[in-house]
């Protein structure tokens, strides 16, 4: 019953700098792009999903702006993973008969606005504000401390983390839209300036304007379209945090989102041919690979080293679009791009140089927020139906 939903449209905005556009306009452009990709029209949309990057309260402003008439809307926000979680929400809404064609948009322009991610200058009265704002508890140190603990507990090295960036950069050279299209070496990553020790500049993702959209539709709609059929097999989401006496900086909420997704999909990590995973920083990828179950906890450093994430070379091709580390991290939220490249791989529409052969089962995985404290995770297992 849960396998009744299909991704029929996917579109990534080609821009990386949108100086002369509004955020709402970007949402509109990616919506139109996804509809054209699917071969559907505006009137076919009866479900809409967005997160905090959409301007306005929940979906209200953007629904009005786009003039969408929907029977179901959802604006769940768990950070950058939100669009991946929303693929699951769309699947369940379709299953329950609440809608037939669900549009998910994500877009923003932090590069034009020069807005730092997790900027704490005007944090409202969140319960934790008093205990974080005084210390300027920023995003990069949050991830850096997780990297430091992983090194301390498991002997992971900066060289191993650098391999994640190297793999993404190898892929990015084939993506004409990638912000950073040049391959880099481990040595170049280590020689780049330390931003927040032990993370270097090249351990950090890009800041880009742009966005993307996907369309999830009921089986009957999917079968009527002249596109490869990508089934949503299972989706899980989870939230992680610390309460002080239970601190653990080396395990993320992906453990829970992956368990839920694999249970629903009735597959195991061994069945997965391709992985798109959130790469705000290199350490984000390392934790996710362990927590998805591709290797034992603590073995992530060894797993990612020596080109093991490079398509055509390694055991697990990861982020063949170049990922957030090299291509695109629109609105400081990479979730939508993870779904889009996973769909390209499953359709066989990735760049030939990075296309994974016989790619029939793949994961789009998200892990966003503050990794050392509250963060959101979502795991979507997608399948090509021949």
């Amino acid at each position: 019953m849960s396998h009744n939903s299909f991704i029929v449209g996917a579109y990534e905005h080609p821009t990386r700098l949108a100086t002369n556009k509004s955020v709402a306009q970007l949402h509109a452009e990616v919506a139109i792009g996804a509809l054209e990709d699917a071969g559907l029209t505006k009137d076919d949309i009866d479900g809409f999903f967005c997160a905090g990057d959409a301007p306005g309260i929940g979906p209200l402003s953007i629904l009005e702006y786009l003039g969408l008439d929907v029977s179901y809307a959802d604006s769940t926000d768990i950070g950058g993973s939100s669009p991946i979680a929303q693929v699951g929400h769309a699947m369940r809404a379709i299953r329950d008969g609440k809608c037939n064609v669900a549009l998910i948009t994500s877009a923003g322009r932090p590069r034009s606005e020069v807005a730092a991610p997790g900027d704490l200058t005007e944090l409202p009265e969140y319960p934790e504000s008093g205990f974080e704002v005084p210390y300027r508890a920023a995003l990069a140190p949050s991830y850096a401390m997780c990297a430091q603990r992983h090194m301390y507990e498991f002997g992971t090295t900066s060289e191993q983390l650098a391999w994640i960036k190297v793999a993404c950069s190898h892929h990015a050279q084939h993506n004409p839209y990638a912000l950073l299209p040049n391959p880099v070496t481990v040595e170049e990553v280590l020689a780049s300036p330390l931003i927040s020790a032990p993370l270097h500049r090249l351990d950090c993702c890009v800041v880009t304007d742009g966005g993307g959209a996907v369309i999830v539709a009921r089986q009957e709609v999917a079968k009527s379209l002249n596109r490869p059929v990508i089934r949503v097999r299972g989706v899980g989401e989870a939230v992680g945090y610390t309460r002080g006496s239970d601190i653990n900086l080396t395990t993320s909420a992906v453990t829970k989102s992956a368990k839920s997704a694999f249970f629903e999909a009735k597959v195991t990590p061994k069945d997965i041919k391709y992985l798109s995973t959130y790469d705000s920083f290199t350490i984000t990828v390392l934790l996710a690979i362990e927590d998805l179950g591709f290797c034992e906890k603590g073995q992530g450093g060894r797993f990612v080293a020596d080109g093991n994430l490079i398509s055509g070379i390694g055991r697990l091709p990861v982020n063949t679009d170049g990922g957030g580390l090299c291509s695109n991290h629109p609105a400081h939220r990479g979730g939508i791009t993870k779904i889009i490249e996973t769909v390209r791989q499953l359709r066989g529409e990735a760049h030939p140089a990075v296309q994974v052969p016989s790619c029939d089962l793949a994961i789009a995985n998200g892990l966003g927020g503050m990794l050392d404290r509250r963060h959101g995770a979502a795991t979507a297992i997608l399948e090509r139906i021949s």
């Binding site: 009265e125 005084p134 508890a137």
Partner: protein, 132 residues
């Protein structure tokens, strides 16, 4: 890098946390401890995030602990050290480390709380390497 001082922003005070900040002004660091399940938590709140009991005390910490994790954020103006400190009482506190040589800092290093004024004069608990 030698870190001599920290630049601290004024905290958001709420009715729930006034006691914490008043105590900080008197040189005391408080954490939350549940009277029902006995577990400590941080940041302190008036409901136990483990068992939902409302019987939470704001307890005075000894102020001693060890470095659990830290990072020198070089993009800070000026650069500063973010850190998780594991207090003797078994609860981790997100804070800054000041008056130290960042290259000599290590996980497990002993630290103690010191109080430094934020821009509005409110005393803020931060940590510094212990003398002993």
């Amino acid at each position: 890098m030698q870190i001599y001082d920290v630049s601290l922003r004024a905290p958001v005070r709420t009715p729930e946390t006034n006691m914490f900040w008043d105590s900080a002004n008197e040189g005391n660091l408080l954490y939350g401890k549940c009277r029902d399940c006995c577990k400590p938590h941080y940041y302190p709140r008036r409901v136990c995030p483990f068992c939902f009991s409302m019987k939470v005390d704001f307890v005075k910490a000894s102020g001693y602990g060890t470095v659990y994790a830290f990072s020198l954020f070089r993009r800070g103006r000026p650069p500063y050290i973010s850190a998780w400190i594991m207090l003797e009482e078994g609860v981790a506190v997100l804070s800054n480390i000041t008056d130290c040589e960042s290259d000599k800092l290590k996980i497990g290093a002993p630290v103690q709380v010191v109080f430094r004024p934020a821009e509005n004069g409110q005393k803020i608990p931060v940590f510094t390497p212990s003398l002993l």
